[in-house]
Symmetry: none
Subunit: 122 residues, 4 copies
DNA sequence: GTGGTCTAGACCACA
DNA sequence: GTGGTCTAGACCACA
């Protein structure tokens, strides 16, 4: 489930976004499932409703959820696909930066280590 | 030596910067060595002098070279260190993005492959 | 028949109104026909009775249906004509968007052309 | 200059966005110009800084301005083009609604009048 | 009840 | 100084 680290340097609203997207990608949340309301999630996570609101609006803007006044928020159709697309863009970003490093004469091992550190910390 | 790909989507002045920095890091150019003049390099690479000018200005701004007016350009003292610092920023960028992918449930192997592809293409 | 899209950003009560009006205009419902009750329609569409109630109230206020208390709702005499009048809502929408374009400094001619293209295509 | 109507049903942050975009399109603000800071604009318009912040973030997200911590906000390169593109989407919306009206048998003149009213009110 | 907007005011990182 | 994040709490439209 979604867990917030209030002492992380990563903003809380980003943690909420990533947590919900992870739940969607891993199937804990399915398309068209209703999300907990902003107030509920706010209470569950002990986070201000405005912060949850900000996360939900970005998810809405990215087409990951659909939200409507008085109706609540739902996982959007095609949400998994949209999230996957954005993640593959990030893989391409890694490839681009690694290409610069290769170009600059940095050993491949250093770049592989950077990736490994990120996964080790998880 | 420095080679320009006019059809790359990477701006030519960036290619010039990266080429010179690579030559410095790999020792082809040493600190305090004089660089070819803008006109010479322009002719050698068949590149507009303004483009070389722009590359040199950015190298100067980054403390990689020093350009005394009228006396030509020289590799700055500590140039290797400065370049290395900037490259370690890029390693940190890779680590950050990889952390997002880890968070999102993407397998480490996919991220490692992205790095590997970049090095294989070199 | 009337179909509700819970994931649309259009309010559900508007969807109900438009659905019923479409059925009237296309002759699926004739003037003086009885409508399903609020509870029936609520169950058929899996929509909150309050929402159906709100839709019916607006249809009543617009003279599209008549709701005698306890006797159910019926398509009003002259309903088709009144619905046609309500298309002026869409005219208002055009006015709103045109107001934004005016606000943004777009020439009036461009907006008029957009309308003209729509009619030319008919 | 940018004027806010606190009693309008249009949210204040939208009024700010539209006002700034209008200033950009009409040339009052040029690309790379610095915008007033969030706090300054907040004071100038007697609007809460958070509301200005929200407007600026959406402008940033849309590539109309670039904002950086400690540096301030600037009109982005290509801002005029990006705004124009979005406005052409609104023209398409008008065309869509006009097509519905045409379909329903409403005279073209009525739709043209709606556009004209919007421009007359400006 | 539900999402959306707004104010007031605090604190942070970066320049 | 500047933008960015967060809390606390109010009020609105819609269901």
């Amino acid at each position: 489930m979604l867990v917030i680290d209030k002492f992380s340097r990563k903003p809380i609203y980003e943690q909420v976004i990533e947590g919900i997207e992870r739940d969607i990608v891993t199937g804990i949340l399915s398309e068209r499932d209703q999300l907990p309301s902003i107030r509920e999630l706010s209470a569950m996570l002990s986070v201000n409703p405005n912060t949850i609101q900000k996360a939900f609006q970005e998810l809405d803007r990215n087409g990951v959820i659909v939200s409507g006044q008085g109706r609540g928020c739902f996982v959007a159709d095609g949400a998994v696909l949209k999230i996957r697309e954005r993640l593959s863009v990030k893989l391409a970003e890694i490839e681009d930066i690694a290409a610069e490093l290769a170009q600059a004469g940095i050993e491949e091992e250093n770049a592989l280590d950077a990736v490994h550190r990120a996964y080790a910390k998880k």
